[in-house]
């Protein structure tokens, strides 16, 4: 099996993990093709690549969740075959999944310690576990009550819980699969600090992220995957984010954010006044103009998602909504959709797509009425729509009969975007539009959003990535604990300004 250079441990340093010729096929589709990778202790090794490049698949193999079709894995020079994730964990390899894998009915602490409960004799020691979980999460910069059930947490909070859970295992190699995708800068910073600590203790880290500056900041080595093939492995010191982008995408990604013609003062299309979503947001008022891109910034739990959902009729809310001056009230989503408002959920797996259904079904679900001919859903029309969407949104899929759940994360986001655009909305609310999306695709999505605005549609972008908001939006509203606390626009659009508003704390030093 050994074909490519498999240098014997010359200088006596046996790499912690070494894989050679690793391949993986799902049925007829080959996802990984002959990957060789060496991971050293005490190093952060970043893996980057476009959506669908095979990063998650590779990580799942390394952590025993999937069996490779071909190839060898060695730990400390000894060949191993993982019987499953637990086996890998016993050998010190833990994976923080890209998708959130937690039991929604259990509390935070119960999830953190699931499968390895602290027990005194027969009895589980909830006190100790709550304490431990609280500490572990605080170390990550979060503050979550360990006795709350996970089902009540936001995605970001769940992500923190998941990371805390993984780090409690005795580990030699920690694999983070896009851990920061749903984190805001505050938690991201805390996490990066934790990773630095881990490295200092001699643990190896495999780190996947689409945020290239972050990669540059934390990684010692960078490996680039493209189409399931390993393109290159380099020292991080030698590559700048632009280079990474080029290596990933195979072309120059010079400018991420599109140029936008400065829009003159246009008419107000949406006016929200004194909107309250009980428990989440209070007395929020704002206006949205035609052709405008309005950003919503805030920390995790600021209530942005809930405010938008309340406005779209997805959850009970009080307040006035005026569309083009006319007061409307949406008691359900259907009404708001009919009125031309489309909301794209941040939780694309839980609320966006039917993971067990195929792409076609997902694409047309919200706008099925358009495909009905003679009482029937016209499958030919559906197929045509799918072809069009695949082309227009550049959805990378091996086969068109794939299930939505089999798409890579980024392509799922594109599918969701395509699905909601089938409604032809005039107001589009996108919650975390590029969560977990590669830089090439990001560029596409930004361009797309800008294009929509140029067509005269109005867009609200809720995002935890400040550069994205700054690069894309005309104005940014900042929320803190359920209130809109300020607006930044024009020259004031910078990270510092936003963070000050979002945290309510005057920053001494900006990140």
């Amino acid at each position: 099996m050994s074909s490519v250079s498999t240098p014997a441990p010359v200088d006596g340093v046996v790499p912690l993990l070494k894989v050679a010729g690793l391949s993986k096929s799902f049925g007829p589709v080959q996802v990984l093709k002959g990957i060789d990778l060496t991971v050293e202790a005490g190093q952060v090794h970043a893996i980057i690549g476009e959506n669908g490049a095979g990063k998650s698949t590779l990580m799942k193999i390394l952590s025993g969740h999937l069996q490779p079709t071909d190839g060898t894995t060695r730990i400390d020079g000894q060949p191993v075959v993982f019987s499953g994730p637990v086996d890998a964990e016993h050998r010190g390899i833990v994976l923080v999944h890209q998708e959130i894998l937690l039991a929604p009915d259990l509390t935070v602490a119960q999830n953190v310690y699931l499968g390895r409960e602290i027990a005194k004799g027969l009895v589980v020691d909830d006190k100790a576990m709550n304490e431990g979980a609280r500490r572990a999460i605080r170390e990550l910069g979060g503050d979550i009550d360990p006795t709350v059930t996970v089902g009540r947490l936001s995605i970001a909070q769940r992500q923190l819980v998941q990371i805390a859970r993984s780090l409690l295992v005795p580990h030699r190699l920690v694999i983070f699969d896009e851990p920061t995708a749903s984190l805001t800068p505050v938690e991201t910073e805390a996490l990066l600090k934790v990773i630095a600590d881990i490295r200092a203790r001699g643990t190896a880290v495999l780190y996947i992220s689409h945020r290239l500056p972050e990669v540059k900041h934390i990684a010692d080595k960078v490996t680039v995957l493209r189409d399931g093939r390993l393109v290159t492995t380099r020292d991080a010191s030698g590559v700048e984010p632009v280079d990474m982008a080029r290596l990933m995408v195979g072309r120059d990604v010079a400018k991420l954010y599109p140029d936008r013609a400065a829009a003159g003062v246009r008419e107000i299309v949406l006016e929200v006044e004194d909107m309250s979503v009980p428990g989440y947001a209070e007395h929020a008022s704002f206006q949205l103009r035609k052709g405008e891109i309005l950003g919503f910034a805030g920390l995790v739990g600021a209530g942005r998602t809930e405010l938008m959902e309340g406005m779209a009729g997805l959850r009970p809310a009080r307040g006035t909504v005026r569309l083009a001056g006319k007061p409307v009230s949406f008691t359900n989503v259907h009404d708001s959709m009919k009125a031309g408002i489309a909301y794209l959920s941040e939780d694309r797996k839980g609320k966006g797509l039917l993971l067990a259904k195929d792409l076609k079904v997902n694409l047309t679900l919200a706008s099925l009425g358009r495909f009905v001919r003679w009482w029937q859903v016209d499958r030919t029309l559906e197929r045509e729509a799918l072809d069009k969407a695949i082309a227009e949104f550049d959805i990378r899929t091996g086969r068109k009969d794939l299930l939505a759940g089999q798409l890579s994360g980024g392509n799922q986001q594109k599918l969701l975007l395509a699905k909601m655009m089938m409604l032809d909305p005039s107001i589009i609310i996108i919650d975390e539009p590029t969560r977990g999306i590669d830089i090439g695709t990001k560029e596409q999505i930004y361009k797309f959003i800008a294009g929509l605005a140029a067509e005269g549609r109005s867009i609200i972008v809720v995002s935890s990535e400040m550069p994205e908001l700054i690069g894309l939006c005309d104005r940014i509203l900042v929320m803190r604990t359920g209130h809109i606390v300020g607006e930044v626009a024009g020259d004031h659009m910078n990270e510092n300004e936003i963070v000050v508003l979002a945290t309510g704390v005057q920053a001494g030093e900006a990140a």
Partner: protein, 334 residues
């Protein structure tokens, strides 16, 4: 070790996968037919098979409705009592002589049955969706209600179709034949065909499956989840009414025990037919096949003389489990 390994396995595996899951109940059915032929040569006579198919009509038709309810993530335990209730009211109406012309009586009775079935289904649907009670409990409650009302209507006795004219006019609906095939078999086929059309081809059907697959996603896609779900119960009620309409001429009477345990049989038919109880998938034709399987198991038991009558239930239970195991292993092998 580079490429080459790629494009060997064709897409053939995956279509097989999907297909086999749908085909499995039919394979089980075929195996049972073979088994039956060994048990008693009379079994594979056309007469016997038509008999069995005909009497599976009630469960098959009800189970078509149950496929909708279950696909949308619900459950309806009240169908057996609903049969008793709807059939009783219908017979009472025909006995009332409100309409003198027999033909018109039957037509009006049919309309009435459909209306009552739909209303009962609507009640179930509203209790589960608006009242937000688990379907299991909600329909367990209405199961008690419908059966209780039947008992009260019949004052503990039987409700029997009295008018001989109506009776003889109505009788062929169960016992009649067209081209040698009993009428109820046509009703099964038509009901299932309509069901399959609605579930597979219409927008509503797509919504049903979406709701059963992931309620949140359906909600966020602007699908009126409660309405879709409620309607599945109404469809279930309609199917019950249709079953009643062919049930009444068969026995001509109802009592408090009519339709006892039919809910379990209908659900079993649905599951044996390949629909998962957790929702999100519905297989109408599989369901019909499942209903045949259940009826054939009973038929084989009765025709064969090996088994002690005390053990009938045990063997039937064992056969259902074995049938499911066979299905599973078929699907897994693919």
């Amino acid at each position: 070790m580079t490429e080459t390994a790629a494009a060997t396995a064709k897409a053939r595996r995956s279509w097989k996968d999907v297909d086999l899951r749908a085909v499995a109940p039919f394979v089980a059915l075929a195996l049972l037919l073979v088994l039956g032929a060994f048990a008693n040569p009379n079994f594979i006579s056309v007469d016997n098979l038509l008999n069995v198919l005909t009497r599976s009509a009630f469960i098959a038709i009800i189970a078509v409705g149950a496929t909708f309810v279950i696909s949308a993530g619900g459950l309806d335990l009240s169908v057996g009592s609903m049969v008793a209730f709807v059939a009783s009211l219908t017979i009472l109406f025909m006995n009332s002589g409100a309409i003198s012309d027999p033909t018109m009586t039957i037509v009006a009775a049919a309309v009435l049955a459909i209306a009552i079935g739909a209303a009962c289904g609507l009640a179930n649907g509203l209790i589960t969706t608006v009242g937000r009670i688990e379907p299991f409990i909600a329909t367990l409650g209405t199961m008690g209600i419908y059966r209780g009302l039947t008992t009260w209507l019949s004052q503990g006795g039987a409700i029997t179709l009295r008018n001989p004219e109506v009776q003889s006019l109505y009788r062929p609906i169960y016992f009649g034949e067209i081209f040698g095939v009993p009428f109820p078999i046509y009703v099964i086929v038509i009901t299932a065909a309509i069901g399959a059309f609605v579930l597979y081809r219409t927008r509503y059907g797509r919504h049903v499956v979406a709701v059963g697959s992931n309620e949140d996603v359906a909600h966020y896609s602007g699908i009126p989840v409660s309405r879709v779900r409620t309607l599945t119960y109404v469809i279930q009620g309609l199917c019950v009414a249709v079953a009643c309409l062919i049930y009444i001429p068969r026995l001509g009477s109802t009592s408090a025990t009519t339709g006892l345990m039919w809910e379990l049989q209908a659900i079993t038919a649905v599951v044996v037919g390949g629909t998962a109880l957790r929702g999100g998938v519905g297989r109408i034709w599989g369901t019909v096949c499942g209903a045949f399987i259940l009826e054939i198991v009973g038929n084989i038991m009765l025709l064969s003389n090996f088994v002690s009558e005390y053990l009938l239930g045990a063997i039937q239970g064992a056969i259902i489990i074995i049938a499911m195991l066979v299905q599973r292993s078929l699907v897994r092998k693919s």
